[in-house]
């Protein structure tokens, strides 16, 4: 019997604009490993919302915890790609994350809209999984060997540029997009809109960014990988490209035999 082991890295960095103004990072991410399952959640708090940094953090934490708890009960034998089940767990998890946000809003005498955040992520096991996504940013399921075509969950923006969709909106279910992928896709990349200009070129991953990233993170340990990722995303070159907060989560599945 084979089980999966995941190698992971993730950073959330305040944008140059936010650093200059002393505003905290409004991006968040959470990574959980439950058995041989990988759960990654990334959220971007809306710049205009009062408690957006809390919104993003709560959404990530509660959703990842919820999914990890659910997946921990799924035994290895049942690890087939039942994307319908995964999708329904994601939807339930998102709904519970909204309840947590609602509670936080009540406690702060605020509105749910004060916690506006986009959310996206991936749930992946040995046989594939599901990318989920509300709003901008991007999720990618890639094949480390380069054989399978990349599967991309692209940003969704409204007809007005700069306006996207949030988990905290009443019609969030209408904007929830789930994209299944198979066992051939063993690399996951999750990112907020501060990173998409670098990593996406049109509707495809930008090789010049993604390939060196995958090669490097695979070769080093998590601490080194995250330090290098932070250093790269903090370079002056990036300052000219985006002032926004930047979150990038990477995961690589490898088969570990017991």
């Amino acid at each position: 019997m084979s089980i999966s082991a995941w190698k992971i890295a993730g950073v959330s960095l305040p944008g140059f604009g936010h650093l200059a103004q002393g505003i905290p990072c409004q991006d968040a991410h959470e990574i959980r490993i439950a058995g041989s399952w990988f759960i990654g959640v990334v959220a971007d708090g809306a710049g205009t919302a009062k408690f957006s940094n809390a919104g993003a953090a709560i959404a990530c934490r509660t959703l990842a915890a919820d999914l990890a708890e659910r997946l921990a009960t799924v035994s290895l034998e049942e690890e087939t790609v039942d994307t319908t089940s995964i999708r329904s767990w994601i939807e339930e998890g998102l709904s519970r994350a909204r309840a947590h946000l609602q509670a936080a809003a009540l406690a702060d005498e605020a509105r749910l809209a004060d916690f506006h955040a986009t959310v996206l992520g991936a749930v992946a096991g040995a046989h594939g999984g599901v990318l989920f996504h509300i709003g901008d940013g991007a999720a990618m399921a890639l094949d480390a060997s380069g054989n399978a075509e990349p599967i991309i969950s692209p940003p969704e923006n409204s007809e007005y540029p700069e306006i996207t969709f949030f988990l905290t909106q009443d019609n969030w279910r209408e904007h929830l997009r789930c994209t299944p992928f198979g066992a051939g896709h063993d690399v996951l990349l999750l990112m907020t809109d501060g990173v998409t200009p670098l990593a996406l070129s049109g509707a495809a991953p930008f090789d010049g960014f993604v390939t060196p990233l995958m090669r490097y993170l695979e070769a080093v340990n998590r601490e080194e990988g995250e330090a290098a990722l932070s250093a790269s995303l903090s370079k002056d070159k990036v300052r000219r490209i985006t002032q926004d907060d930047k979150t990038l989560v990477w995961a690589l599945r490898s088969a570990a035999h017991d």
Partner: protein, 224 residues
């Protein structure tokens, strides 16, 4: 823990529209001395001006071809985002195969535009500058000139002829429907500053909108 970042990772804005710009430079023997010295100094200023422009540095892409030797053309600086562009030093010796230079330029432009399409990157119409102080010395230059004119007529490229000193303006005008411009003396400095300003403006213009260029009064005279 300090880190210098992930090696070889390209950090560029893939959402930006691009303006591809090719310079075909006459590196023949007659350019030796002051002309090539001023030209190289101008190229360096071009590099600095582009890099100091936040928008142009990300949008303008530059490729430089040298014509010289025994009717040889060489790419002395392959496609670079302006922010990564480093002005090459052009050597002056040999002949002036301007036709071959223009042909190579059209091919490189087509190649780059295919790359943009493949990656869904929007782009402005490309620019092709031909700089010479003489006249084409390659035998089939007329064919190349006709191809340039045709590509320009089909809106695939804008071709500018820049003549220095005793350049043959009649032959230069065969490459473009636009009249060539005579550089005032060796005022490469003003020419390259004008070019970086123009590239900056054009790279911010809407796709498909007509080209609005500053008149070259600061550095040249239009040869009508």
């Amino acid at each position: 823990m300090s880190s210098t970042g992930i090696p070889d990772m390209a950090l560029r804005d893939n959402t930006n529209q691009r303006l591809p710009c090719i310079l075909v430079i006459d590196g023949s023997a007659s350019m030796d001395g002051d002309p090539i010295k001023h030209l190289n100094a101008g190229l360096k200023m071009f590099e600095d001006a582009l890099k100091n422009d936040d928008i142009a540095s990300q949008r303008v892409q530059v490729l430089i071809i040298r014509c010289g030797g025994g009717d040889e053309v060489e790419i002395i600086s392959d496609w670079k985002d302006a922010m990564d562009f480093e002005a090459p030093v052009v050597a002056a010796h040999g002949r002036t195969p301007l036709g071959a230079g223009a042909t190579l330029a059209l091919a490189k432009l087509a190649e780059q535009e295919a790359r943009y399409r493949q990656h869904g990157i929007p782009s402005n119409r490309g620019w092709l500058f031909l700089l010479t102080d003489g006249e084409p010395t390659d035998t089939d230059w007329e064919q190349a000139a006709a191809a340039c004119k045709a590509a320009a007529a089909a809106n695939r490229v804008t071709v500018f002829g820049i003549g220095i000193g005793d350049a043959n303006f009649k032959k230069l005008s065969a490459f473009s429907a636009m009249s060539p411009v005579r550089l005032d003396g060796l005022n490469f400095r003003e020419f390259f500053l004008w070019l970086s300003r123009s590239a900056s403006t054009a790279s911010q213009s809407e796709l498909g909108s007509p080209l609005q260029l500053e008149r070259p009064n600061s550095w040249g005279t239009i040869q009508t």
